[in-house]
Amino acid sequence: MIRWMKQVGWRHLVAILAVLFSLGPIVFVLSAALNPLGTLSSSTLIPSGASADNFTRLLQDTNFPSWFLNSVAIAGLASLISLFLSALAAFAFSRRRFKGRRTGLLSLLLIQMFPQFLAVVALFLIFSKITDLWPAIGFNTWWGMILLYLGGALGVNTWLMKGFFDTVPKELDESATVDGASHTGIFFRILLPLVSPILAVSGLLSFIGTINEFLLANLFLTDGGSKTLAVGLYGLVQGSERNTNFGIFCAGTLLTAIPTVGVFMYLQRYIVEGLSAGAVKG
């Protein structure tokens, strides 16, 4: 028993405590979502009445289904493409030595530090031009938003992946080169499979980051049908209407987590499987 406690039991204890910490506020949201009066003031975790009223109203009175679709499409595509771009760059930063490598890495970090809500004015300027010229990738379009989010493809994720590319021994590349593999071959066939856990993690992080993005989406998606979940939900708690819609808002918040959890469940096996021991030996 003590042995079990020492090896496995404490793990459960930590996990249970963390789960309680994580779920507390979420249960509170769930309770507000089930509470037909849907207000924030309920100071208990048990709702005063349980009904799916808020969920049905969310689906009937709002554009929720289309918000959902837009969010999943934009966040899904944007995170996939940006994952790829980011991995490409990380490969160069990790495996190649070239002039300006460290400066480049540092600049990637620094550029992220500029507060985005100031840059909004300039982005708006760019997008007004784009909309005039190519309406298909301008305001109120999926592709416009995706392009915009790709601006952030090289950033924190590149750093993350570069760090992990660094941990893969170079002997692997070398022996592959001796076997006649090109640099693309090394990248796609050797490195990417080896770092699949971190690809999965980066993909998930970028998906979550994109699906929750609000600032730009609010300004760039104005057509009712083109809005994303974050924008649509925020609209429900604006100003004096916050009280009235809080239950619906909570219902929406809970449903918003579904695609993310789905992506996580799907990616989990890649994250967990990890690096098979044999591969390292090359």
Partner: protein, 418 residues
């Protein structure tokens, strides 16, 4: 190697030729319908917040059909004013904007909206307070469609009669609290950082003012009332109602929970606006609406009057049509009634108000509560008031000394009004 490179180039060129051909076709089609010309020929773009855009939709479609134009309604979820200004400046803003009247000062200084010329008949069909609210520097900017002001909602089971003064209200509230019938005396939202909009009626009743007025009746940014002796006295009175005094005003009552506390029957009195009634009805509470009572022997507790307004954007692509829509279509009672049905705020059009008064007895009561409401100042300087005023309010409610608090707020406000 060379051959391979040449092959890549050749094959790419083939692809290019193929796709370019498709591209050409696409472009031809586009040229046929000519999107840019179509946009100019009859498209009216209207921006509003989420709720109102839904209500506007059928009317916009009707206007479009009658006039052979397309009307697009777009909803901005947050920061509508900033979004409008940014978009306008880049030329990708709407033709018509829907928003609160206190934006006018800022929109005018940015050259974002045009004046609207209302005929005498149209003007006389709109409530006088609403017209006053949208008049800025002698011009009318936009057409009002709904008004809103605070009032006192009370639970008639707990408090059958409307209190004549704040002192009466506090006495009743304390009694209910002692009898364990309620846990709060008054639901007036403050939060940790205060709420100038909701506390203003009490401030006014206790003798404070925000801005003086010029000879022409406009607000005068140079005459700041915060920091004057009257305002200090008023904050003293708020302090006496606060946590260290009567406990009627509390920082724990926030915009998120004040209505809910009332509908949860924990509190007999709620200071709120017409937007609160939907919840109160849903909770099945017997209620009545009366004017916010003032302090005993004090001035009247005048709330702010807010006016929801249609604006014509200066940099819109279709200003003639926008003017037509705003001056000659928004001024019809049908639209005002529909917007009322979407959200129960009293219509600004007298005819529409008469029409809906019958179906909703609350309207007359709201109107009565706002009988002497003063229009929310629309001058840009008002933006400097909200935060410092609210924080000063929260501080005195928490028990801080009134004089130093108000003077600090006044200093912050006047340094940011330049």
């Amino acid at each position: 190697m060379r051959i391979r490179t040449a092959g890549v180039i050749a094959a790419s060129m083939l692809c290019l030729a193929g796709v370019a051909a498709c591209g050409d076709k696409k472009d031809d089609k586009a040229a046929g319908s000519n999107p840019s010309a179509a946009a100019a020929s009859g498209e009216l773009v209207i921006w509003a917040d989420d709720k109102r855009s839904a209500a506007l939709k059928p009317f916009a479609d009707k206007f479009g059909q009658e006039n052979g134009v397309t009307v697009k309604i777009q909803a901005i979820s947050k920061d509508q004013q900033t979004a409008f200004l940014t978009a306008s400046q880049q030329g990708s803003g709407p033709d018509v904007m829907v928003g609160a009247h206190d934006w006018i000062g800022n929109l005018v200084q940015n050259g974002a909206i045009d004046p609207v010329q209302l005929s005498d008949a149209q003007k006389s069909g709109i409530q006088a307070g609403a017209i006053k609210a949208i008049t800025f520097n002698g011009q009318t900017y936009g057409v009002p469609y709904a008004t809103e002001n605070l009032g006192l909602i009370r639970n008639t089971e707990l408090a059958p009669t409307a209190p004549a003064t704040i002192e009466d209200l506090v006495a009743t509230g304390k009694k209910l609290k002692a009898e364990k019938k309620a846990s709060e005396i008054l639901c007036l939202q403050s939060g940790q950082n205060g709420d100038a909009y909701h506390s203003y009626p009490l401030y006014a009743s206790a003798g404070g003012y925000l801005f003086g007025t010029t000879a022409s009746g406009d607000y005068d940014a140079k005459d700041l009332g915060v920091g004057k002796p009257g305002s200090i006295a008023a904050f003293e009175k708020l302090r006496a109602l606060g946590e260290k005094g009567d406990g009627a005003l509390k920082r724990s009552i926030t915009g998120d929970n004040s209505i809910a506390t009332f509908t949860g029957k924990k509190c007999a009195f709620l200071v709120s606006g017409p937007w609160a009634t939907a919840d109160v009805k849903k909770a099945g509470i017997k209620y009545d609406i009366s004017p916010i009572p003032g302090f005993k022997g004090g001035k009247e507790a005048t709330p702010f009057l807010g006016v929801q307004t249609f604006y014509v954007a200066s940099k819109g692509k279709n200003k003639a049509l926008a003017q037509e829509f705003v001056t000659n279509y928004v001024t019809t009672p049908d639209l005002a009634v529909a917007l009322y049905n979407a959200e129960p705020r009293p219509p600004a059009l007298t005819a529409a108000l008469e029409q809906v008064k019958g179906q909703d007895p609350d309207l007359a009561k709201w109107a009565d509560a706002g009988k002497n409401a003063i229009p929310l100042p629309a001058i840009p300087a008002m933006a400097a008031i909200w935060e410092p005023f609210g924080k000063a309010e929260a501080a005195v409610i928490g028990g801080a000394e009134a004089k130093t608090t108000v003077e600090a707020a006044a200093k912050t406000i006047s340094s940011s009004i330049k």
